[in-house]
Amino acid sequence: MMEDPTLQRKTTILVVDDEDHIVRVVAFKLRAAGFEVIEAFDGEEAWTRLRDTEIDLVLTDQQMPVLDGIGLARRIAADDRFAGVPVVMLTARGFRLDPEEFAGTGIVEMLDKPFSPRVLLERVRANLDRGSSRREAA
């Protein structure tokens, strides 16, 4: 079967977490909702994936080995190629970012773990909508 180039590209989400059960749950939920999902298990691996594939939204854990969520978000925000790619971050309950840490990271939302997969899907959709209307307005 040949790929029809006129077919619309699926919205692609990069899911990053060092705990593979989290990646599996999130990927399962997002794929079942029709999204394309790329998986990565630390920030550095995520960065490589970002450069090979067109990504519409990054969903990342904060605490990870090698490169953490904030580090990844900061790199994304600093690179013109990924300008405007929204980052949703999963954090342990009670984790709070200082506003100055938040600044210049492209993080649009933080979600507490343990999260509800249903709510997570809703928030991904909402942030994608917001992102596209922002791009259209620009």
Binding site: M1, R24, F28, P114, P117, V119
Partner: protein, 526 residues
């Protein structure tokens, strides 16, 4: 499409992909006959276009289907240059049967190609060149291919099963996360002494959203002081109150169960237990005909477990609170008994203080404190001799000194009870005056605790508005004028206008009732 059919379509696609690798077209065979694949691209897959597109091949396969499907690996040459290999794999849940149809090298030589191309409306020259380029296997290679087809078929089904079990693990994992999240948010709301109505409502909303219910209902056996109504309902389309009761009875003692009703569809029912006995029922439904799985029932049961713990705690707390208030009221009744002229005074000051604190806009906890502080403000009068309290004439200096001790006496009585520490300023300082002329400490303006400034106005107002040993009640306008005159002298000038703006209807009813009781009692005494 039912899940079983979807599953088999996915399996066919996977098997078809594998079989295409050996140059064959996979034709799944169901009980009612072969299911020919849809031709998607005649050039990329000329074999598929030829085999699925040529009616004579379909007819030949139909004719000899029983023979082909007789055993797995059976090879039948259905026409010169077109071979069919049957593959039958009995699966645990669902058999997967099909035929791999493939062109062999003989197709080009023995002449049926021209006929087939015209039947399938394909360009013969093009197909002939594609077939030549493809290096079709000779007839002699068919036994080896048959083994390969069977292996590929089996391997593809194996992969399919793995993928499915992986997905079912992921689905279960996602459901567990959902449950964990629900329980976490319920625990967040488990604040003892918090608003039970509010907690039940938010718990129902959370459960409805998580498990996809149209409605959730909680029936509480003995609402008492804990919840405002025996029924807490979330969502639309729930059965009536009496119907819910009937359903709850139908479920009996089961910890969790589903009842299939004709009118309302399937309804999940979980017993809410607290302190080892049933104290209520959690009901959920409105899933639009969708069956309830064990996952939803487990979720319902864990939510009911948490509700049970919460309700039980709330009930214990309410009991404790009622006992505490009862104790205070008993102490207050002891003072009232000493002097029928002040009967009901404490309760009236309590209610006025509560209303005034609320009118000022203070938080609920302070409003409650003001109520209790008003109730016990005169408790120190227990230490004042009855002769002094009931004396109709003028008090001499010694007698007045005894009266003036009641704030400290009250403070000493109550100070060792930790639960009422907050009330103490109202007891000790309710006779302090804004200008510093009061007692016992002679505090002035904002040195006087706010609670005491509140109780002080209410105390004076009630004293002036009711009959006393030494005089009769004064008219309302006169009392108001006196309080207004004393704003900034005896009373906090900021609080006075708020007090004068209050509604005194409830107070007047209370006053009238107490006055009736008082006259009866004084009449009996005389």
């Amino acid at each position: 499409m039912t899940p079983a059919v979807m599953r088999s379509a996915a399996a066919d696609l996977l098997v078809g992909g594998e079989i295409a690798g050996v140059g064959a077209v996979w034709v799944p065979v169901e009980a009612d006959g072969p299911r020919w694949p849809v031709i998607d691209d005649p050039i990329a897959s000329w074999r598929q276009a030829l085999i699925a597109g040529a009616a004579p091949i379909r007819a030949a396969l139909d004719r000899r289907l029983d023979e082909i499907m007789a055993g797995t690996g059976t090879i039948v040459e259905i026409m010169p240059g077109i071979a069919a290999i049957g593959s039958v794999i009995p699966d645990r849940e669902q058999a997967s049967n099909g035929v791999a149809v493939l062109p062999t090298a003989e197709l080009v030589g023995e002449g049926s190609l021209a006929m087939l191309c015209s039947a399938a409306r394909l360009d013969e020259t093009l197909i002939r060149s594609l077939a030549a380029e493809a290096m079709l296997p000779p007839r002699a290679a068919l036994p080896a291919l048959s083994v390969l087809v069977r292996r590929l078929h089996r391997a593809a089904l194996e992969r399919m099963r793995e993928r499915e079990s992986q997905q079912s693990v992921d689905r279960r994992l996602a459901e567990s996360y959902e449950e964990l999240h629900l329980l976490n948010s319920l625990i967040d709301g488990l604040v003892v002494g918090g608003d039970a109505d509010e907690f039940l409502r938010s718990a129902c909303a959370e459960l409805a959203a998580t498990a996809g219910y149209g409605w959730i209902a909680v029936l509480v056996d003995e609402p008492g002081d804990v919840v405002s109504d025996e029924l807490v309902l979330h969502g639309e389309g729930a059965p009536s109150r009496s119907r819910l009761r009937t359903l709850a009875e139908q479920a009996g003692d089961a910890s969790v169960t589903a009842i299939d009703t004709e009118e309302e569809g399937e309804i999940g029912i979980a017993s809410i237990r607290g302190g080892g006995r049933p104290i209520g029922v959690l009901l959920a439904g409105g899933r639009g005909g969708e069956a309830m799985s064990s996952v939803e029932l487990t979720l319902l049961a864990s939510a009911a477990g948490h509700l049970g713990v919460f309700l039980r705690n709330a009930m214990l707390y309410a009991d404790l609170d009622a006992m505490f208030l009862g104790t205070l009221q008993a102490m207050v009744a002891a003072i009232d008994a000493k002097d029928p002229y002040t009967r009901g005074h404490s309760q009236r000051v309590a209610e006025l203080s509560r209303d005034l604190a609320a009118a000022i806009g203070l938080p609920d906890s302070f409003v409650r404190t003001a109520h209790l502080s008003g109730l016990v403000h005169d408790i120190g009068k227990i230490g004042v001799p009855e002769a002094v309290l009931r004396k109709a004439g003028r008090l001499d200096d010694d007698e007045f000194a005894l009266i003036r001790q009641h704030p400290q006496t009250g403070y000493r009585i109550l100070k060792d009870i930790p639960q009422i520490r907050d009330l103490l300023p109202g007891v000790l300082c309710h006779h302090e005056a804004w200008d510093g002329s009061g007692y016992p400490a002679g505090l002035e303006s904002r040195e006087i605790p706010l609670l005491a400034r509140i109780v002080a106005i209410c105390d004076s107002f009630d004293a002036m508005s009711s009959n006393r040993t030494y005089r009769n009640a004064r008219p309302r306008d006169e009392v108001f004028a006196e309080i207004r005159r004393c704003a900034g002298v005896k009373y906090d000038p900021d609080i006075v206008p708020v007090f004068l703006g209050m509604n005194f209807e409830a107070y007047d009813r209370l006053l009238e009732r107490d006055a009736r009781d008082q006259s009866t009692e004084l009449g009996e005494a005389a």
